[in-house]
Amino acid sequence: MNPTAVLETSTSPGEPLINIAIFGAFVLVTMVIVFRASRNNKTAADYYAAGRSFSGPQNGTAIAGDYLSAASFLGICGAIAINGYDGFLYSIGFLVAWLVALLLVAELLRNTGRFTMADVLSFRLKQKPVRIAAATTTLVVCFFYLLAQMAGAGGLVSLLLGIPDKVGQGVVIAVVGALMIVYVLVGGMKGTTWVQIIKAFLLILGAGVMTIWVLAINGFNLSTLLENAVAVAGSDDILAPGKQYGLSDITRLDFLSLGLALVLGTAALPHVLMRFYTVPTAKEARRSVVWAIWLIGIFYVFTLVLGYGAAALIGAETIKAAPGGANSAAPLLAFELGGPLLLGLISAIAFATILAVVAGLTITAAASFAHDIYANVFKRGKSEATDEVKVARRTVVIIGIVAILGGIAANGQNVAFLVALAFAVAASANLPTIVYSLFWKRFNTAGALWSMYTGLGSAILLIVFSPVVSGAATSMIPGADFAFWPLSNPGIVSIPLAFLAGWIATLVTASKKEDPAKQSEMEVRSLTGIGAEGATQH
């Protein structure tokens, strides 16, 4: 079967009806599970943290589901298919990052916090200002990530469902957003987690089957696969680094900057952190990360084979010319291998991926608003749990509507940089304060505020004045040019700056000591788990 022949007659290879039917089946099955899971959603711990009742392996699978977004599945496969090694280089940062989560963050966070990142950051510092700062960075990271996912949905629609016009794509974005609102509203964290578990299972299974298939075609010899990819590409530069990031000193530095943000940002992504509260103990949090690391690591090895497989079986030129560009590498490969049925399956999984990731982001943002801003800042910790959950549910609807409108507005725009920006903001605004408050006794409120706002502000400012926003043909605003900062990734400046700001501000205001009893309590609790909230009993 030649995919180019199909492409000439339709914007989508395969049968859009099959794709929709398989996706519909996924929605139906997950809806039933979400409704069943929702019967026990009574308290705040149930709604935000799934009653802390998931096991390590379950939560680890959900983390993988949350983390392996459409960008990492379709994006990395496509990047390897077109740019070869540099796509693989990109995926390694996403994996190594989990060691920061495993060694520094997961267990200590599970032991000290309850629902949100701000719980931990404000533990021994001044509640109000630190919570506001932490909730702000949480909402900013979630918003950037959410917008990128929703905008990506538009591109996927044109590729997978054969809907080329903007109005039709807008309708599909609205449907995806509406489904997501129902999942989160009804199912809370428990429902969201189940959606992610099912999606991760399907995604890894689908990618695994395709990987074995590609390897079988090449006699289970990696070198043969590479030979075939080189033969189609007509050059062996896809095997070595440099095709994408090695063009100039600027691109090299840019990749270094991106690598830093990926490696240090993952353990500070609010929607990843919140997942650690869904297990009963710190030991289960550790098991979750271990499971996540295995699943994510194996998945990235799969994408390596799939990327080179797409390069060998389809060819970079055909992929680039297809609707969806690089993102179409994995779907085209599925079509080449298994015809319309496998394509339908992979397409449905890609859709499910967007749905699940968006749901995870939404519940994180809603929890942060309701728990940090409403309950602890407005009501000074004296609100009723039922009111707090009510506020969270309303926030979910608002965020859902904003995501739909933002997704429709950003559809077709070049907003892929938003994901990298979300990692950079997480690494600059959140990670320094997380590390300092867990490991540095003298760290104080001024240090936290300076570090968070410096990280947030510098990352966003550098992006605004970078080539991704203006001054280049691929910019968001190609007509204007106010890009006096050459790098597209701010991490290499903003991360050290935020660490430095937290350190200097703490030293300068050293006379303002925080409550030493709180410091003792936080340190003892973080390492021993004394007083940590366990699973709720029903």
């Binding site: 308290t43 711990a45 090694y85 540099d86 693989f88 280089l89 390694i92 940062g93 994996l95 190594v96 989990w98 060691l99 920061v100 495993l102 060694l103 000290t112 309850r114 719980d119 533990f123 010899n221 990696l222 070198s223 043969t224 590479l226 030979e227 080189v230 095997l239 070595a240 680094p241 440099g242 990031y245 090695g246 090299r252 990749f255 270094l256 690598g259 490696v263 990360v289 271990v290 690391i293 295995w294 690591g297 990235y300 090895v301 309950a375 602890n376 609100s383 749990a385 490991f439 009893a517 003792s520 309590e521 003892v524 609790r525 390492l527 021993t528 004394i530 007083g531 909230e533 709720t536």
Partner: protein, 115 residues
């Protein structure tokens, strides 16, 4: 339950300052930091070396080792392997060296709470 400020979930009667200065806790903290900081540091340096090699020594990364599989691909897969190894090492270390002490401290704190 469900709406208290985060700290009020903790046992009010637990003597955190006392535990913090107890020999058991000092040892737990020492063991935790003795593993976590150097191992994470090494892993990040190893990753940084990989990114720098890819950026500034692409010719070295392109040296074929067997068939078309080159140094770069092996180092990349090596990153995956070291991530898995560090993960397994930490689980072993935590189970053996951290969890027993943490459990002992927890049990003692619970007993004191009863008294």
């Amino acid at each position: 339950m469900g709406d208290e400020a985060p700290t009020s979930v903790a046992r009010k009667d637990a003597d955190f300052a006392g535990i913090q200065s107890s020999p058991d806790f000092v040892e737990l903290k020492k063991r935790h930091r003795a593993f976590v900081f150097p191992v994470l540091g090494l892993a990040l340096v190893w990753y940084l070396a990989y990114v720098l090699l890819a950026g500034y020594a692409p010719d070295f990364m392109a040296i074929p080792v067997f068939g078309l599989v080159n140094v770069g691909l092996l180092i990349g897969l090596g990153q995956v392997a070291t991530t898995f190894i560090v993960t397994m090492l930490y689980v072993w270390y935590a189970n053996k060296k951290l969890d027993p002490i943490a459990e002992r401290i927890r049990d003692e704190a619970a007993e004191e709470g009863v008294r």
